[in-house]
Symmetry: C2
Subunit: 241 residues, 2 copies
DNA sequence: CGTCAGATTGATATTCATCAAGATCGGTGG
DNA sequence: CCACCGATCTTGATGAATATCAATCTGACG
């Protein structure tokens, strides 16, 4: 399996890719790099020259308040382009951190620019990926703003389940989520203690079980129902774009 | 002043536009339409054929829970492209609503496609606009997740002040914000009563005064300090992109 | 003058954060 | 093998932030 494959499957999930497009993607120059949990991959205020793609593990976009409190705006899973944003934003307004140990792949901006110029359709699909990013953020705003803590948590699990499913990382109603409750708290906008209790709540309801880093969801429909999860915003159906 | 001017100034704020690009933008076909407060401009699940630009007034992207509770993920001001998203998302995952009476301009997707094809640089700038949308959403997540209610409110005011400033809608430390407290509550992820009290709090601190629909900010720096506002995420400095 | 939407206030309930203390568990060195 | 250690999870107690409910007040307007 080529290293670029998670990206190809993420794109192919949203529109047909012809052979030439696959070839172009496969020909992108890159280098790989590993990060340990907690390491910063892209720094706020930096001016990236490469775009980063997650190959394995989970990363997150993090923001800080002056007093040091943290909010993780969004989690990223394999196949996600982590900072396509840097391409146009020039200066980062947030940082990207490894939430777990992970492998990443860096592609020079110049190569991405050339790709977009020679294959506008691929350019639109990369644009689409950033729009899906924004759609996920809108759902986070809804979750944090209006859902109860347990629903917020359940919705996040449903979302990660669906996203991991599209890259083949779901096995028998089970996903690997090696996140601590403190990290979850920063994603959910809650305190660590409250995450613990919300989790207990979901466990008691039989909505999921969480042992080690493995989350088991006995009945996805029930969890989706409980958290009001509708995957439409993930744009998982192919359309000509 | 041509109708497309708010967009041109939004773009010119982020990068140089040459004469030809301005001409292309000015030549875009469009029709105009007015909406009254509360009217839906783009419906969730719809498949837009036109992209909508706000000319005057304030619109918002709204999401609903099954029980009917609402969250407004993001507000839009004149010059903002309201659903560039529809261009690639195909099916809307949220709706756009007029928060106040407003005037809008609709441009056929085909024309936008042609524009992007013939002027890739403009295409990148439109992409950039959607990235700024996402950056604003990240800040909303931070505000709702980690800031106190008064800070959340103050941060929103700072942001709107900055955004309105770039389109020339700030006069003497004062912006027009004809929103009810119930609408603000849906933006801030708070209850209406709590918005009222947070507002009182800011008034008592002398951070702002709000009469009718006019918000006066005696000392922007103090308000920014209080709410931890840093406009970097709005990308207000021109860069070659 | 009556009406209506919106703003304000008080009283109370719920949710969530904070603080502090154990409990659990995988590693690690003796 | 065992004792210890640090990180994480769990729980209880308490307090602060926020929601909800129910009036009342205000001002615009027919």
């Amino acid at each position: 399996m080529a290293r670029i494959d998670p990206l190809i499957s993420a794109l192919a999930q949203r529109d047909k890719l012809d052979t030439e497009e696959r070839t172009l993607l496969g020909a992108l120059p890159f280098y790989q790099r590993k990060y340990g949990r907690g390491e910063e991959i892209v720094s706020v205020f930096s001016r990236p020259t490469h775009s980063c793609l997650v190959l394995s593990g989970i990363t997150g976009r993090e923001l800080f308040l002056k007093d040091g409190r943290r909010q993780v705006a969004l989690l990223q899973v394999p196949g996600d382009f982590v900072d396509l944003h840097g391409l146009l934003l020039k200066q980062m307004d947030h940082s990207v951190v490894a939430m777990t140990d992970c492998e990443t792949m860096f592609i020079p901006h110049t190569a991405v620019y050339n790709l977009i110029a020679s294959a506008p359709h691929l350019g639109r699909l990369l644009w689409l990926l950033t729009l899906i990013d924004a759609a996920i953020l809108r759902e986070r705003v809804l979750s944090i703003g209006r859902r109860s803590a347990p629903q917020n948590l359940a919705h996040l699990i449903c979302e990660l389940y669906s996203r991991l499913e599209t890259v083949g990382l779901v096995g028998e109603g089970r996903i690997e989520l090696p996140l601590t409750q403190a990290q979850l708290a920063d994603v959910l906008g809650l305190s660590m203690v409250h995450v613990n209790r919300s989790l207990k709540n979901l466990r008691n309801e039989g909505l999921l079980s969480w042992q080690q880093s493995s989350v088991e969801i006995p009945d996805f429909q029930r969890l989706a129902e409980f958290s009001d999860f509708d995957p439409i915003y993930l744009q998982l159906t192919p359309e000509p774009r």
